[in-house]
Symmetry: C2
Subunit: 169 residues, 2 copies
């Protein structure tokens, strides 16, 4: 087995165990919040992208434009997101999280953080350092593969304490 093959294999092993856990949390969280999985997806999409239009939501969920419009309407009614006119193009709407919507996203992230914290307890300090270095590389590589994101303002980027640790090779 070559290194790239082994690499892909271990990444797949990890993704399997990680996805199973995350999907379960995701479903559970959606139910607990009284939201559909689609609605939760929208919240996370807006959390990541900061702002987007109605048709972007349709693309995200793989549904038609009217379906997206109705979903947005429901979520506006629920006080999760707000819909304002795009000043540059008055046909378009800009969707954003409300304070309440942001709160819900934060709670979900916090729940996942607790799971991850559990992982630290079983690992030695050396193992943790190894994993930190490895995942930093992986995160950078994965982000480079991502399609561009129209982040209005990169919030809390260059946050102190998040800088990478150099690996010696």
């Amino acid at each position: 087995m070559t290194t790239p093959d082994r690499f892909t294999q271990v990444l797949q092993d990890w993704s399997e165990v990680f996805m199973r856990r995350s999907m379960h949390d995701f479903i559970q969280f959606s139910k607990d919040s009284g939201l559909s999985m689609g609605q939760t997806s929208v919240l996370f999409h807006l959390h990541h992208g900061s702002s987007c239009g109605v048709s972007d939501i349709g693309e995200l969920l793989g549904v038609t434009n009217p379906a997206a419009s109705q979903m947005v309407h429901r979520m506006v009614t629920l006080g999760l997101i707000e819909r304002t006119e795009d000043p540059d193009d008055r046909r378009a709407k800009q969707l954003q999280l409300t304070a309440n919507g942001r709160l819900i996203v934060k709670e979900s992230i916090e729940a996942r953080r607790r799971w991850m914290e559990q992982l630290t307890y079983t690992l030695t300090s050396e193992e943790q350092t190894l994993i930190i270095n490895a995942l930093n590389i992986l995160v950078d590589a994965a982000r480079d593969l991502e399609p561009r994101v129209n982040k209005v303002e990169s919030r809390e980027q260059n946050e102190p304490g998040k800088e990478h640790i150099a690996i010696e090779n």
Copy 2:
């Protein structure tokens, strides 16, 4: 920032980028296959656990027993899963993937594998080795945290070429 904090942080960074990608693929895949997200979840659950009962499905999806029963019925009709009587307890049913259901799961896994393969192209051999070691540790730790799985038979365990690489410390 302590090592555990930094560890949790980088794990969270990774989970964010990974989840975004995986959720998108998951939604896309479900739509393309003409399945609901719930149905796709069931397929993956059965792929992992090999066999389970109707109420396990209800627990997985966070719905009532009748809802699970109806979902199972629909999926049986679609030829995705089959429902046989549990020989040990004739009240209970054992659910399993059909050949067709297995095929669909395989296709989805293959799609994700291709994404992961892309990641290898941008990384050096040293980086890949580092990540392999790190993720192996992480997979083991995460599996230990998982609730027990009633796998009828551990398929393809101890497959050659999947053994861990020892890390020197």
